[in-house]
Symmetry: C2
Subunit: 248 residues, 2 copies
């Protein structure tokens, strides 16, 4: 009952400070240990998980509101953030609050503006807020049940990532500064949702001349230590202007 | 003063029937006579032009509202419609209504959801509404002054078209069923905002095997009658799944 109590207590101030009918949902991606992850939270008293999100202050730009939420949830400033779609179906969230008073802030119809963020996993500290029981990274291959239409929103974000892989600095923002070729290939395979031939991938990605091979290798492990690479930020940016022209 | 009178008269019913703070702006593209055009309207008593748009009924899906507005403005059903971005800056429209009463529907802050539409120019009959003095096609190379942030919204739509040219059936929806190769090239040149080499363009576009050459040619004109083509809808759709992999 803790969630219910908090939402009802807050409702009047929410009506006073925030723009009604408009919400934001954030799909925050991170890459760790060869897995693509998304930051989810579980509200108190709930089984299902949710995308982090929030509302827009009456005098706040929508983009600024999205940056504010991301900072609250990750403790990181200036993340790579892209609006990708606005979700405007009726009854997408209202049903969840059916048993609440009709004047509850959360019970109104919300049009939700979807943003995706790409973060360097190692730099992020997931932060719970006062209505959450948990806030955790989850592997996108093994997602828990999500509330409302959040699974649909997540799917749209992932498809957007796939479409934009050749046009936006997605690898650059998800990988640590130094990475191995197998790590980069794994990231592409997860986003594209298909297995790539190792030789073809190496040849194509090297042909774009956007990677810099370092005189270092990844220590540890039984195998021969793989070479480390990093993106040449300027060449990468230039190459993305026309798109990486490849089917992968 | 006619616009002012109408807006004030309508305001109370707008508050009753529509979702506050949420609006839609539509960038409707058509292609005619080798020019890319956009459908604009001029409100009564105003010098500047505007994108057609409107509001979302309290019980209406946002996509349905966009289709409804397009039908009202073009008298055509089932147009090709894509949401492309939501515009959430503060003060993007409020200033226009500075001299109006504070409780005027139009004077509130609006978050505007941008849609672009692609139409077959020949099928569209531009329709004025009761607050418009004119509704006309304008050449995108020679646009009049636009009110509020509508020039910004238009620019974002055009950039979206450019980015999606290899991924969405843009030519298919803008051209008449039968067209000549110079017409197709001209459309690509306008959207990409660059001159293309004729031989390269023909070779690339034919290589995708998405066009069907007809046993007909365009009659009239001083030059040799150019051949007519049409899209092979199925092959085009298949090709777009992976994107047309070309820099043009």
């Amino acid at each position: 009952m803790e969630l219910r109590k908090t939402l009802i207590e807050r409702s009047e101030n929410m009506w006073r400070d925030f723009l009604p009918h408009v919400s934001i949902d954030c799909v925050i991606f991170g890459f760790d240990n060869n897995a693509l992850k998304v930051l989810l939270l579980r509200l108190k008293d709930q089984q299902q998980w949710a995308l982090p999100g929030g509302y827009v202050r009456k005098d706040e730009n929508v983009d600024d509101a999205a940056y504010r939420m991301l900072k609250e949830r990750t403790a990181v400033d200036n993340l790579y953030l892209q609006q990708f779609r606005t979700f405007g179906q009726t009854q997408r969230s209202e049903g969840f609050f059916a048993d609440y008073p009709d004047d509850l802030w959360h019970k109104q119809r919300f049009i939700s503006i979807g943003y995706y963020a790409l973060v360097n996993y190692a730099e992020v500290t997931p932060v719970k807020d006062s209505v959450s029981a948990e806030c955790e990274w989850k592997d996108i291959g093994d997602l828990p049940d999500l509330m409302m239409d959040h699974r649909f929103i997540f799917n749209k974000a992932l498809v957007t990532l796939r479409k934009q892989l050749n046009y936006k600095p997605i690898g650059y923002n998800l990988l640590p500064e130094k990475f191995t070729m197998p790590e980069l290939q794994k990231l592409y395979e997860i986003i594209l949702d298909k297995k790539l031939n190792r030789g073809n991938f190496y040849r194509k990605i090297l042909r774009y001349d956007i990677l810099e091979k370092l005189n270092e290798s990844r220590k540890g492990g039984a195998h021969k230590a793989p070479d480390l690479y990093r993106f040449d930020a300027e060449k990468y940016r230039d190459a993305l202007k026309n798109g990486l022209q490849s089917e992968w």
